[in-house]
Assembly symmetry: C2
Homo-oligomer: 383 residues x 2
């Protein structure tokens, strides 16, 4: 049985559009060069490819200036740069109990230098009450860091309301769009988002090894790394301008070339069409799951309230065991356990059991949903 | 004229062995998965590919434990992690005037937190006197950071002698092997190297977006970033074990798959055979250049004293202009300017003019050297 059903798109989307593969192949086989460094044709072409990627991402998040986009290795690096670059000794940060470790661990590490934090508790369905965010803001609060959607329940967070609070209180707003970019609008200006982190390899349909950090003009973020930037080579100090300040060393040109084509695919297809397809799959899945008595579904179930990520358990069975059977017997790829978000699992009450997570992508089909439902029914009946 | 002569291997090697391309293609087209996270077949296969890469690199630098290898985005990230993770307030670091900005800029940035440095002056041919390193070591010296070979003149630094000094004085020794790994032995144990940074996309023949950091057991290096590691997901603190401590977020699986095959290619071919080929090209090139009166050659010329990197100027002509003509008229890719190493250019006296850099790789040929020489003669005669 070779036809794998891939439902781990919240980790890395798969497959990618053919254009993405072709761009990677072309870039790696025809250009060896470092963008923005040497002046020969290959290097200039590499620079062009990377600039085009900045332009495509700018269109996606609706900003004017492509140079506000810095490329990172992954969303984790983008989040670390934003959080550690902005917060200094004595600062306070507000975040939520539904965050990924890529937000929580850097914040926790900053305690060592005297940064304090408030982790706003979400409901057991993963919902965030924006009033709680506002209440948590103190005089020394410098940052509100919130995921756009939970990577476990898919619950969509009220970023518009939080954006209004951020603006009103004058606090910088960081959004982790790991589970939404590509399927949901992330309009940074409209929502007062000043810092935005996106992985290249999930909803943006690019390859692994790519991530995006958007920094609004005027926001002071210290770089994590210094090094060669191909600019101001004569200077021992890191350049202070975007994006060079945050892009030390040779970038992942072939990865970024692929990412650019992934974003182009999304722009052509239309974010709303992708969302519609993914949400209809998740809706179909949940409606069928609800008919199976032994299945517990976590988070909000209503379409439009969550991204196409569905976490479940079957009775009290170990989530890893169920995920293993799905893979081994049915060739269905899911992810079990804590998904690098321990507080979120505490929030929804699954810290011990974990959950089996099904995350849908643009290339999944309703026929696949039905096969998965049949598999779950079979497993359930045999327990 | 389509047959480009690529002589910018010191920036990024090109082309790569066919196996590297095939591994990248296979990985991206058949596995979407995050290694070490989900438990399904694709994720397990991705984990296997990455472990194999660690094993291959371990063989190359002759260490026993593949888990001492952490993957980074590039050598710059590896150097930043080593330098910023090791040095604390009050510490002192010794480095040299031939370093790349990826070493000098992080050290410079650490001045802000009270780290001091001594930059040992090299000769105008780029030579480093190890006695000067020893002299520069103080009571509070915590690190000696030295490139294995200059990225401008190729000058090979006496890392064995410095290793002995490091051991004697009890100072940690960091080597930047950006210009040597893959062509020269970097035996970390033999040379008392406790920290080693290698780009994946130069001598190791992997793609861009990959780098390697080796950390010897017992050396305390704080991570630059925290985040999801797929391990200890229940914990808000970053794991403290190698390599997870330094590998937050999704790694560049397809890049690392390619890198692994690049290193395999080197192991099969033999480091000494690769070095022999590259050195013979550089030797041939220099012998022919010496016959052209207008050409100034920088650094040591003797075979064995420098990696296959040759920097020149033609009279007082702007290096960028010469590099431009080589590319435009002769389809020869070189790199001009300061090569992100301003102090090195001050050291060899080319801070104003820069140099035209020719860097040879395993796939260059003697016939190409001859074509380049003819081009330089033609340019020179027309000036």
């Amino acid at each position: 049985m070779d036809d794998i059903i891939y439902l781990d798109n919240a980790a890395t989307s798969f497959p990618k559009p053919e254009e993405v593969y072709l761009a990677i192949e072309k870039t790696m086989r025809t250009q060896g060069s470092n963008p923005g460094r040497s002046g020969h044709k290959g290097a200039i072409e590499a620079g062009r490819v990377i600039f085009e990627a900045r332009e495509n991402i700018s269109k996606l998040i609706e900003i004017e200036d492509p140079l506000r986009i810095a490329f990172t290795m992954n969303a984790t690096e983008a989040l670390n740069t934003a959080i550690k670059g902005l917060l200094k000794k004595g600062d306070h940060v507000v975040t939520t109990s539904m965050e990924h470790n890529s937000v929580l661990r850097p914040i926790k590490a900053l305690e060592n230098i005297g940064v304090s934090s408030t982790i706003v508790q979400c409901s057991e369905r993963g919902e965030l009450d924006p009033k709680k965010i506002e209440k948590a803001v103190r005089k020394n609060t410098k940052l509100i860091a919130v995921t756009h959607a939970s990577n476990i329940t898919g619950t969509i967070m009220p970023i518009n309301e939080i954006g209004v609070i951020a603006k009103k209180t004058g606090v910088c707003f960081l959004v982790d769009a790991a589970q939404t970019a590509g399927s949901y609008d992330v309009k940074v200006n409209e929502n007062n988002i000043e810092l935005l982190a996106i992985p290249g390899h999930k909803g943006l349909l690019g390859p692994q090894g790519t991530g995006v950090l958007y920094i609004a003009e005027g926001v002071e973020v210290t770089q994590l790394k210094e090094g060669g930037t191909g600019s101001r080579s004569e200077d021992l100090l890191q350049p202070t301008f975007m994006p060079d300040k945050y892009e030390s060393g040779t970038p992942n040109t072939l990865g970024i070339a692929g990412l650019s084509k992934g974003v182009e695919y999304i722009l052509n297809k239309g974010i709303e069409n992708i969302r519609d397809h993914e949400e209809s799959l998740a809706e179909h899945f949940i409606l069928e799951l609800e008919k199976i008595e032994e299945v517990k579904i976590y988070g909000l179930r209503k379409r439009g309230k969550h991204a196409a990520v569905v976490s479940i358990n079957i009775g009290d069975e170990d989530s890893a065991e169920i995920s293993y059977i799905l893979d081994k017997v049915y060739n269905i790829a899911t992810r079990a356990g804590l998904h690098c978000a321990p507080l979120a699992h505490k929030t929804i009450g699954t810290f011990e059991q974990g959950t089996v997570r099904f995350s849908f992508g643009i290339f999944n089909t309703h026929e696949e949903v039905e096969r998965v439902i049949r598999a779950i029914k079979e497993i359930t009946s045999q327990l």
